[in-house]
Amino acid sequence: MALLRITSPHTQRAGRRTSWVMQMVIYATLPGIIVQTWLFGWGTVINLAIAGVAALLSEAAILAMRRRPIRFFLQDYSALLTAVLLGIALPPTVPWWVTVTAVSFAIVFAKQIYGGLGNNPFNPAMVGYAIVLVSFPVPMSQWLGVSSVVASGEMLSFSQSLQAIFHQLPVIDSYTMATPLDGFKHKELLDSQSAFETLPALQAASIDSWLWVNLAYLMGGLALLWLRIITWHTPAALLGALLVMSGLFYVFDTSNAASPFFHLTTGAAMFGAFFIATDPVSSCTSNRGKLIYGAGIGILIYIIRTWGGYPDGVAFGVLLMNFAAPLIDYYTQPRTYGHKKAKTGLKIGGDH
């Protein structure tokens, strides 16, 4: 009788593997991808395809170099998830080499160099995004507008999207426009009210399109919450902090600040809150830690949006808080059963 001898427990929650978690997150982005495609054309889908191939190839290559089982690690879907998040975040018409650079940098330098899945201190997708944002500011700032507000009055067709990504589309300028955040950032001397009246990027059609995108990601995020893949702490704290910050400044400086609703429904607010900040590897672990971590990102997003050099601040906010995550973790350990107080730091014997 060859009996199995292993340690307890002898049973596991069926089905919920790491690959399942990754797949669910990918599926949860689907509503957002659909809305983005509907609003901004096929560019997002093409980007996703390029990113997916680049991610799998670079992951396989580095695994081969590290002499790890390639199949085993590709099956965890983590590389694909990074690719999906990046493909969503990049502008729909960004040249293919920007996508490839972003994705391969994310996989090779932000993830595998640190030891692969589970060992990366920074969110790989955001590292990739930040690298191309800093390196190629021009293609990264060209975002397509919705058909009703761009000069051409129509959307890019599939072939046009392909052309824009793989060659150059000379007429691309007539399809692109500033995002609402970009527009608001460059309102120059206008006060808020006149900016919302005059700037094309801040017209109802443009703002609504971003509202739809954000609502779609909120939906996906709620699905993840329902599946208990993420907890409410990080998104709630992030959105709450963003709300509080924008609310405060809106109350005190109505003429120059945008409303909290505007901040919560444009840019990558929802996408960042539910899909980027909740990356478990690089974020805080305890519930209290997640609250602090999320709030920190929310505050940083507002700061970067309002006073920083870039229109949106999710990537940098997340990366900056990634730095702080271990420190936060040290000071937010939960109180263990039977202990009067939670331990902090790494002080030995500080339990009284």
Binding site: M1, L3, P9, R17, V21, Y337
Partner: protein, 746 residues
């Protein structure tokens, strides 16, 4: 009955319960197995000490092993029969290792020993009842097997606010407590009341999960019938609500402080099985010899609960529950969450075995390969102790023991909830168990190395002190020797005269004070002896250091001192004669003593020599055997050696058989014995040399055997060593001869 407040605890999981399978059939009663195997360690603490020997006939319920120390338990014969063995057998333990067991062959008669119930327990002192429970071998039957008497005594530390009876049985598959409550409701209630009488808690609560409606109804009915004050609290089904600490939190809202026991906060927890066992021990006088165990799993055709005798092999029960051999993939003692796997079904049921889970491959598939931890935090949400399992995993993997401890690793109850929910299939519990034992080992090693260091340093300090003392003495001697060279002749007579004068003085004293004189004389003799000894020592040291002038001076000194001593002794002898009331034994004749001592010494030495010689013979015989096996060329040489060694051993034995006269004549002069002593020591040295040479040969032979490539050099070495040996032996022979002669002459 008022409904009590139910609190909650952090985390917890809801695994599939799988409890109905084993509740389909009524409580089974398996037949007697061919033999019962009773491990001596069925509980936490020291193993019991067997009271029986192989071949003994025992009656059912008779004690067969007694407790060993405070934290231990008694063990009783589960049936009548014969003890066939007390030996190492595989036991129910995750390691699959064996331990000492008593094996009992039942005679099938089930003859009970005389039962001694305690009908008047209510009038008795609590300690008496508790010691009766100890005699009946009652231990905690929930899992750990903590001796009940220790737990009950511990409960007296503080006034008890709660006495909690654990009937939660939160592990999937297990239904033994459920069955026990259904079958023995009245006994359970009486048992609880018995324990309550012993501990006098303010509130008695039974905690039971809401997935046992039949048991709850039965309990409710009995409690109302008895008009009992016991409270029944139904808690929601959630694993691990049956953990002692979790149940306490559920029922009282209090947490047991880390590293302490429930008794420290005035709470006592007992399993239902223990309460029933307590009832049977006190009301019926029955020791703990059987228990209810669940047999379940898809590899069994007839899963059920059985009332089984302790020591019944698992295989016997599996056969009883109609095992399908081919289906069996994993055999688990306990439940799927905290149980451990068995290698073989030969292990016996013990006091804590609540379930045997015979699972097939589909039911409990092999775990998926471990993937990287993505810190998803699902484990943290599930942990009932509010730990950070992912951090603990990190520290366990890198063996950062201090950090793991800082993150409260020792508050982990190993419930397995974290591993259960882990999407990466990381065997978290195994990591924690390994790290916990690493920490414990490191602690033990630290204590041990500290102790070793202390002892080493103490030894060094002692040796240094000895060396310093020697050095100081040597210096003093050197200084003294300079002046001594001049003074020796003067001082020696002087001491002599003083001694003589003292002697004269004592002589001149009155006869009635003769006792005093003898005493004084004795003291003088003792002083003289010690002086002589010191001088002799100095002489030896001087000889060793080759200081010629000192030697002559000291020799002179020694001989003078000896003379003085002899005089003193004769004086003493006279005094003793003059005082005949003294018993002869009280007046040891020193010359006789002196002569006797070396004789005894010689005898001892001869014995030791004989022992060495015998050892040598043994060794050579061994070497011979080996050499013969290897067909080595030096077989003959070794044979020769063996013959020599045997001869020598015989000689020594002879010496031993005809020892020198044990009471040599009193006229024997110390010088003769000294010569003998000298000779003897020489003989000994030579013998040791011989032994060492032999050992060397032996070692060389071994080396020869192990490394045939250096055969030449080694065999050369052997020859050289043998030559040495022969020389040493011839020297020894002459020495022994001379020793014989000297003994004969004396």
């Amino acid at each position: 009955m008022q409904t009590a407040q139910v609190f909650s605890f952090h985390g917890g999981i809801h695994p599939e319960e799988n409890k109905t399978q084993s509740l389909q059939l009524p409580l089974g009663k398996p037949s007697l197995p061919k033999e019962l195997i009773l491990p001596l360690s069925q509980h936490i603490g020291q193993a019991s000490v067997p009271l029986v020997a192989i071949g003994d006939q025992v009656l059912k319920g008779a004690p067969i092993a007694a407790n060993n120390g405070l934290l231990s338990s008694h063990l009783h014969a589960p049936t009548s029969g014969t003890i066939t063995a007390i030996e190492s057998r595989p036991i129910a333990h995750p390691s699959g290792l064996s331990d000492l067991c008593i094996v009992l062959q039942p005679d099938g008669k089930e003859t009970w020993t005389e039962l001694k119930p305690l009908p008047n327990w209510q009038q008795l002192d609590a300690t008496e009842v508790i010691s009766h429970l100890a005699d009946m071998g009652i231990v905690g039957m929930g899992g750990a097997g903590f001796p009940t008497q220790v737990k009950l005594q511990g409960a007296h530390k503080k006034p008890l606010s709660h006495f909690i009876i654990n009937a939660a049985e939160c592990e999937p598959y297990i239904t033994s407590d459920d069955t026990l409550i259904r079958e023995k409701t009245r006994e359970l209630v009486l048992g609880i009341e018995l324990f309550q009488h012993l501990v006098q808690a303010e509130q008695v609560t039974i905690g039971i999960e809401d997935n046992k409606p039949t048991a709850i109804a039965a309990l409710n009915k009995t409690l109302t019938e008895c008009n009992s004050k016991i409270q029944l609290v139904v808690v929601p089904t959630k694993y691990p609500s049956g953990g002692e600490r979790q149940l306490i939190q559920l029922l009282t809202g209090q947490e047991v402080p880390s590293g302490q026991y429930p008794a420290d906060i005035g709470i006592l927890c007992q399993n239902v099985g223990t309460c029933v066992a307590g009832y049977e021990a006190v009301y019926l006088g029955k020791p703990l010899i059987s228990r209810i165990t669940t047999l379940t799993g898809k590899a069994l055709n007839a899963p059920q609960n059985v009332d089984v005798l302790l020591g019944t092999p698992v295989a016997h029960l599996l056969a009883y529950a109609d095992l399908q051999e081919k289906q069996l993939n994993r055999l688990i003692i306990g439940g799927p969450m905290m149980g451990y796997t068995l290698d073989s079904a030969a292990v016996p049921i013990v006091k804590t075995t609540n379930c045997i889970l015979a699972a097939n491959k589909k039911e409990l598939p092999a775990p998926a390969p471990e993937q990287a931890c993505i810190r998803c935090g699902m484990c943290e949400q599930a942990c009932p102790a509010s730990l950070l399992p992912q951090q603990l995993l990190w520290f366990s993997k890198s063996q950062e023991l201090e950090k793991a401890e800082h993150y409260n690793l020792f508050d982990c109850i190993e419930c397995g909830a974290c591993s259960y929910v882990c999407p990466s299939s990381i065997p978290l519990v195994q990591y924690y168990r390994h790290t916990k034992s690493s920490i414990r080992d490191a602690r033990e090693a630290a204590v041990k190395s500290d102790l070793a260091k202390q002892r080493f340093e103490a030894r060094k300090a002692r040796q240094d002190a000895e060396a310093a003392e020697k050095e100081a003495k040597r210096l003093a001697r050197q200084q003294a020797s300079a002046s001594k060279a001049v003074q020796t002749k003067k001082t020696a007579p002087a001491t002599k005269t003083t001694e003589k004068s003292a002697l004269n003085a004592s002589n001149s004293e009155a006869a009635p004070q003769i006792n005093d004189t003898t005493k004084k004389l004795k003291v003088d003799v003792a002083i003289g002896k010690s002086k002589l000894k010191k001088l002799q020592k100095q002489l030896v040291e001087a000889q060793e250091d080759e200081r010629l002038e000192d030697i002559s001076a000291l020799q002179l000194h020694v001989s003078e001192q000896e003379k003085a001593l002899v005089e003193l002794e004769t004086e003493l002898a006279k005094a003793v004669k003059a005082n005949p009331t003294k018993k002869p034994s009280d007046t040891p004749d020193n010359s006789v003593e002196k002569a006797k001592a070396p004789a005894n010494d010689a005898l001892k030495k001869a014995k030791i020599d004989a022992a060495i010689a015998k050892a040598a013979v043994k060794k050579v015989e061994k070497a011979l055997k080996k050499a013969e096996e290897l067909q080595a060329p030096e077989v003959d040489a070794i044979r020769q050696q063996l013959a020599d060694a045997k001869k020598r051993a015989d000689e020594l034995e002879k010496v031993l058989d005809n020892p020198s006269p044990s009471t040599p004549p009193t006229e024997q002069k110390p010088a003769v014995s000294a010569a003998q002593l000298d000779l003897a020591s020489q003989v000994k040295k030579e013998k040791i040399a011989v032994a060492l040479a032999k050992a060397k040969i032996n070692k060389l032979n071994k080396r020869l055997a192990s490394s045939p490539e250096d055969a030449e050099t080694v065999s050369k070495d052997i020859e050289a060593a043998q030559q040495q040996l022969v020389q040493a032996e011839s020297l020894l022979a002459t020495l022994i001869e001379s020793q014989h002669n000297s003994q004969e002459t004396s």
